[in-house]
């Protein structure tokens, strides 16, 4: 038999002013199943909570309704109080008499009547409440970090420093990502590799970090705390265990003229190669597409010269399973292909290059040893035009959004160029200069004032190549309001920042959302910027939105903190509001399985002792279920129910109205 206690709060004057709280508690006391009906000035105060605890114990209450403020305000408070008195916290419900009643109605009679109704509804509900226990799921204290750029490296190092194991997966042969390709970094102009490579080495050598380069996520099973991720270890054709990285193989390799991706195609590599001298691990892989041995079975030179017999042409992709409790996605970005702009040469003009190409030209470790030489004829360009917002802020051909980093790296490029070519002209076309950030505005001003970069506000309408090799850049100076034509030797386009190819597929594997541009969606744009809708999956870096290095690193550390927080307890506790299937009545129409946003509803075979399948039904995975209840309402026979919002509770609430 139900013994419900109803506690009406005046909230000082907030409720009492418009609702006759005494009348409400008196009416409540007469409701079926109610044994206590009292009102008090401040229920959330210590004496108020004491009043509830006392009643629970002395009156042996089986349920409690607190008529007060919004449950969003104090449900935790009162449920905690109930728990202290030995009542299961989920046997307490709140009627919202303040936000939904006293504050929005002025007529006392009406407000009081509504308050009584709201309390009656909650009394009816709480009579059907069942004691619920928080869902406990064990946590595998190992993190998977996908992407070996600065974001992934930082996240991995922080998690490892926190004493937890990390599996760092990188699709390329080496970690380091784009940052390893940069010459200097704004706004301090310190050498990118100088600050990055120590981190790369640390990541590779850290006892808590397992590095998996040249590898990709193939499939994902499980849920927060208990993911099983299958990693595809791509065939390297070089046994890293045997290889010492001596370099004999790639020095002898006859296939020499493969454009080097790392150098944005400006330099060349062999068919067996390490992407760059400081690569980690510093061990070559064979590019099967270009290797004549793997293609035609001819050559085999590298195997001959390898002193350790590390070359294995029979090598194949392997699948490896790892169990992890949390995942950090740090897959980064790439530059949008400006070939879409016919007016800029459609990608056919060799001296119209993108930001990365310029980084490689300016980099001491680049194909030109740090000398600015234009690709077509290797001459030093005397006039360089830099073009911002190439594909950004252009929803016709390019992207709607601002790529955020281009203003700064263009200023840096202009600066670096002027440092290397004293007489050279650096002309920057821009729409706006967005230099919000510590030391950023100063940096741009330096480029203009100290280093004499010429900033022209306006767009470039077309770039054409003249016979003599000059690039004729026609545009408009919108400040002066006149057309400008510049004869340039090199044009650098600040192409838009876009997600890596295949990032959608990866998001789908992990159940992470992404926007129309393919950037991963955070759980909340303000308050949960590193979480995703998929519990236990976090974001770091430019895979979520264009970011510069400091931002990327801070988000990576934030993600690491989230992971460490998740790993702090051996088990994780979740709200027990989850769906349950009545296997006796389930007809296995699979509507719930199709509807579940989390893949928590699954097929389940009912088997006899001999293991023979008697019947298939639907089942809900407690770890994955988030408690939306969509499955319950697509179930025609109502064989799925939702704890905390059961059919019985809702039916009772409706009958009380």
């Amino acid at each position: 038999m139900a013994r419900i206690g109803v506690f009406i709060c005046h909230c000082g004057e907030n409720i009492g002013r418009t609702v006759d709280c005494a009348a409400v508690s008196a009416a409540a006391a007469k409701m079926p199943g109610v044994v206590v009906g009292v009102d008090y000035k401040y229920m959330c105060s210590d004496p108020g909570q004491q009043m509830i605890r006392k009643a629970i114990i002395e009156q042996k209450l089986t349920g409690v309704v607190v008529g007060a403020c919004s449950p969003r305000m104090h449900e935790r408070t009162f449920r905690a109080a109930a728990a202290e008195a030995g009542l299961n916290p989920y046997l307490l419900e709140m009627a919202n008499l303040r936000e939904h009643c006293s504050w929005v109605h002025s007529n006392q009679a009406e407000a009081t009547q509504k308050a009584i109704d709201l309390v009656r509804v909650m009394v009816a509900k709480v009579r059907r409440n069942r004691a619920l226990r928080p869902i406990r799921v064990p946590v595998e204290p190992t993190a998977l970090v996908v992407g070996g750029g600065i974001a992934g490296i930082q996240a991995a190092l922080d998690i490892a420093a926190g004493g937890k194991k990390v599996v760092l997966v990188e699709s390329g042969p080496s970690i380091g990502g784009h940052m390893a390709r940069l010459s200097e970094t704004f706004p301090t102009l310190d050498c990118s590799q100088c600050i990055l490579t120590p981190r790369m080495v640390e990541a590779a050598s850290h006892p808590n970090i397992t590095l998996m380069t040249y590898s990709e996520v193939a499939s994902v099973e499980g849920f927060v705390g208990n993911f099983t991720v299958t990693i595809r270890r791509k065939a390297r054709y070089v046994d890293p265990a045997k290889c010492t990285g001596c370099g004999d193989c790639f020095n002898k390799c006859p296939i020499k003229k493969i454009p080097n991706e790392f150098d944005a195609g400006l330099g060349q590599r062999r068919a067996i190669y390490v992407p760059f001298p400081q690569a980690v691990p510093n061990k070559p892989v064979i590019d099967a597409a270009h290797c004549t041995m793997l293609q035609k079975g001819k050559c085999g030179l590298c195997a001959k010269v390898c002193p350790r017999g590390a070359i294995d042409y029979q090598d194949q992709d392997r699948l490896e399973k790892v169990k992890v409790g949390a995942v950090v996605l740090a897959t980064g970005f790439q530059l949008w292909d400006h070939a879409a702009y016919g007016e800029y040469g459609g990608g056919r003009l060799r001296d119209v290059i993108d930001g990365f190409a310029f980084e490689r030209l300016a980099s001491a470790s680049g194909p030109t040893g740090g000398l600015i030489k234009r690709p077509s004829d290797g001459k030093e360009p005397q006039t360089v035009v830099f073009l911002q917002c190439c594909g950004s802020r252009d929803d016709k051909v390019g992207k709607k959004y601002c790529s955020k980093i281009c203003c700064m790296y263009t200023a840096k490029h202009a600066m670096l160029y002027r440092h290397k070519v004293y007489e050279g002209r650096a002309v920057v076309f821009y729409m706006d200069v967005r230099a919000a950030g510590k030391g950023y505005e100063e940096f741009v001003r330096r480029a203009i004032e100290a280093d004499g970069a010429e900033y022209v506000r306006g767009r470039v309408s077309r770039i054409t190549r003249r016979r003599d090799g000059k690039l004729v850049v026609r545009g408009a100076d919108t400040l002066a309001g006149r057309p400008v034509t510049i004869e340039a030797d090199l044009v650098v386009l600040a192409d838009a920042v876009v997600p890596r190819p295949g990032s959608e597929k990866l998001a789908q594997l992990f159940g992470v959302g992404y926007d129309q541009d393919g950037f991963y969606s955070e759980a909340h744009p303000k308050l949960r910027p590193v979480e995703t809708a998929a519990a236990g999956v976090f974001l770091a870096g430019a895979c979520q939105a264009p970011k510069d290095i400091p931002e990327t690193v801070s988000q990576a550390s934030a993600a690491a903190a989230k992971v460490l927080g998740l790993f702090a307890k051996p088990e994780l506790e979740r709200e027990p509001v989850i769906a349950r299937v009545n296997r006796t009545t389930c007809a296995h129409c699979r509507a719930c399985i199709s509807a579940c946003p989390y893949g928590a509803a699954k097929d389940f075979d009912i088997v006899d002792r001999a293991g023979k399948v008697l019947r298939a039904v639907a089942d809900v995975n407690e770890g994955l279920c988030q408690g939306c209840g969509t499955c319950a309402s697509v179930c025609r026979s109502h064989s799925v129910d939702l704890d905390g919002f059961t059919d019985e509770q809702i039916h009772a609430e409706l009958n009380a109205l």
Binding site: A27, K30, M31, P32, R120, T584, N655, A656, L657
Partner: protein
């Protein structure tokens, strides 16, 4: 003889409602002839066996049998009015009237059902003898006749090739109705039409004997294959009387309802444990046949079937109880 032209049945109805009767008669609506309350202007369709039976007006498909007011702090019983309207049923079928004996028996054997008896006493049944029958009719096989008078307070007999109907009062109620209807009736000679010729199809006793002895017969499995387990047969049947009690509660009160139920439903015998003593449709179909031809006769000395044929007329799957009985009789031989 007291006569009325078949086409003028509404006059009879009019006279009776003028005399304070609620008149129930077969009335066509949307292609379906149904017993329903007659109102001025409505034509009466005596030609066919209506889709529903007389039962509807004595034992309605749903009725409130108890009320509880949800007072602050608890429940308290509220009165349920038992008033039954004085009703005349026109053109009931002899097979409908014959069913009354079976209903009276079950609603009075251990406990006098107030609601049923109030309506029963207030009802005067005027049946209409059948001058034709269809392939589903089999009253003659279950002790009835196309012009049978069992259960009727008065009977109308077709005469002069169906042009006229001759009214014979059979009981006190019947004579009272006769009086009330006097205005609509003519006095004169009429040549009674021959009742429908309906050869006997099976012997219910033989069927009953086989049933009592063959509960586990494999016959049932195959005989019930077509049955889809709806309640159409039971609800159309003039004798079926099973019901279910349901409570419905809202903010103000709780009502206890008595609703028709059918042994054809799987839920009918489903235990709370999940066990079902009648696990499949063959067990349910067997129950239906046995109840009508074995169990009920043993208990009340009367069959629970009057051969009206509604069940087979309405069955979407072509289940026919008469055909089943024929086969059972054959099995018995």
């Amino acid at each position: 003889m007291k006569t009325i032209e078949t086409g003028r049945l509404p006059d009879l109805a009019q006279a009776l409602s003028a005399a304070g009767y609620r008149v129930v008669a077969p009335i066509e609506e949307g292609g379906v002839v149904r017993f329903r309350e007659w109102a001025p202007g409505l034509a009466i369709a005596p030609g066919v066996v209506p889709a529903n039976s007389l039962k509807d007006f004595l034992f309605p498909r749903s009725e409130v049998v108890a009320r509880f007011a949800l007072e602050p702090g608890g429940f308290s019983p509220a009165p349920v009015e038992r008033s039954a309207v004085k009703t005349a049923v026109l053109c009931a079928r002899p097979c409908d009237a014959a069913a009354l004996a079976a209903l009276d028996a079950v609603f009075n054997w251990d406990y006098r059902d107030g609601a049923y008896n109030a309506r029963r006493e207030a009802a005067t049944v005027v049946s209409l003898a059948c001058s034709k029958a269809d392939e589903h009719c089999f009253c003659t096989s279950v002790g009835g006749a196309p012009d049978g008078v069992a259960g009727a307070d008065a009977i109308l007999r077709p005469a002069d090739g169906g042009r006229l109907l001759v009214l014979d009062a059979l009981t006190e109620k019947g004579r009272a109705l006769d009086q009330a209807a006097a205005g609509a009736l003519a006095e004169g000679p009429a040549a009674l039409d021959a009742p429908a010729a309906l050869p006997r199809r099976f012997d219910p006793e033989a069927v009953g004997r086989w049933l009592a002895a063959n509960f586990e017969s494999p016959f049932w499995k195959e005989a019930a294959l077509a049955c889809l387990g709806c309640g159409a047969c039971a609800y159309a049947c003039p004798v079926c009387h099973c019901f279910d009690l349901q409570d419905e509660t809202d903010r103000a009160e709780c009502r206890r309802l008595r609703n028709w139920d059918s042994c054809g439903f799987g839920l009918f015998t489903l235990h709370a444990s999940g066990h079902n003593p009648r696990p499949d449709q063959s067990a349910r179909w067997r129950q239906r046949v046995m109840h009508k031809f074995s169990i009920y006769p043993q208990k009340f000395k009367t069959l629970a079937c009057t051969g009206c044929g509604r069940c087979s007329r309405l069955c979407q799957a072509g289940m026919a109880i008469a055909a089943t009985c024929e086969r059972i009789e054959a099995l018995g031989r």
